[in-house]
Symmetry: C2
Subunit: 190 residues, 2 copies
């Protein structure tokens, strides 16, 4: 499936645009192909884009002063990723986004998103519901984190992203769960 | 200041509505006054409304099977609260929302929010940015939780809500930080 069809399938779940309207909507996106390991956003960058994943897998993560990494999100196909705080508030990135595998994305700039939202009431509706869903997912993840049962969170993660088990190195799964590799190994082997 | 002026001040930070438009917008909200301790949403409820705080303080929280409580959010004046997962997906509440102090709120139903968003492109813009901000706040809270330094999180909390120190019982601050009362006491006394 090509980039346009993937985005169209995703957008159509929330709004209906005519062929012409969708062509116009799509013309505001840019295609990029990245290699495994490549950085898309690095701490300190100006952040101008958000990324819609077509193929592959991204991670967004934070590195603390002791160089420990914390994974905020894995972004699989049809997920969006960016440093939204930096993007929305026009500040420097405090997060990093890079590629776990070779990854193809569509980027959308802040400027083009706001242009589309201004021009199309439907686009504004789409992005409102996109963020509503992200907000709810983020609240669930927070609760799951607070309610600190690693086995439950591990099972939740694999239920949400069944592909992860084979796709992602185990130390990254540990960094998402916020546990040591040893704790994760005990879960795998029990 | 009356309810209408408080909501107007809040909305005007994001959009400009004429006097008539704002009157119409405001006519979709209902005023409620709740007593300290009163429950607004309880686990298992149907959730039809979100709440804009005018005066006082709400907490939204989860109670796990071992009856331990986890506070997701304190909602002070001009903050919004609900069980957004339940509200947006039309499922039963898994969270609770109640009043830390006597509290005055404006409620907005799901139906009225969607009606306003449909009728007014500006309202859609307002609610998109309201949620964008909530999303970013939620991501920050998650990161702060993962990057597990209680003193830093405690200081962050008091910087964000300086009124909390006097307003909220210490065990609720501990439940927000996800630490025991003893750990919190050590922070207070050091």
């Amino acid at each position: 499936m090509d980039a346009k069809e993937i985005l169209k399938g995703h957008v159509s779940k929330i709004i209906s645009l005519s062929e012409n309207e969708f062509d116009y909507f799509f013309s505001h996106f840019k295609f990029h192909s990245f290699k495994k390991g490549q950085a898309i956003i690095s701490e300190g960058d100006n952040v101008e884009n958000e990324y819609f994943v077509l193929d592959g897998c991204l991670k967004s993560f934070y590195v603390n002063p002791e160089l420990k990494i914390f994974i905020l999100q894995f972004a699989m196909p049809t997920w969006w990723a960016s440093d939204y705080n930096a993007l929305y508030t026009n500040t420097k990135a405090s997060l990093n986004v890079d590629c776990i595998t070779n990854t193809e994305v569509l980027s959308l700039s802040n400027e083009n998103r706001e242009k589309l939202c201004k021009e199309f009431h439907q686009a504004e509706y789409f992005f409102r519901w996109r963020t509503n869903k992200g907000y709810v997912a983020s609240q669930k993840r927070l609760l799951s984190f607070m309610n600190n049962d690693t086995r439950h969170r591990y099972e939740e993660l694999l239920a949400m992203y069944p592909e992860l088990y084979n796709l992602v190195p185990k130390h990254l799964i540990a960094a998402y769960l916020g546990v040591s590799r040893e704790t994760l190994s005990r879960l795998y082997n029990s």
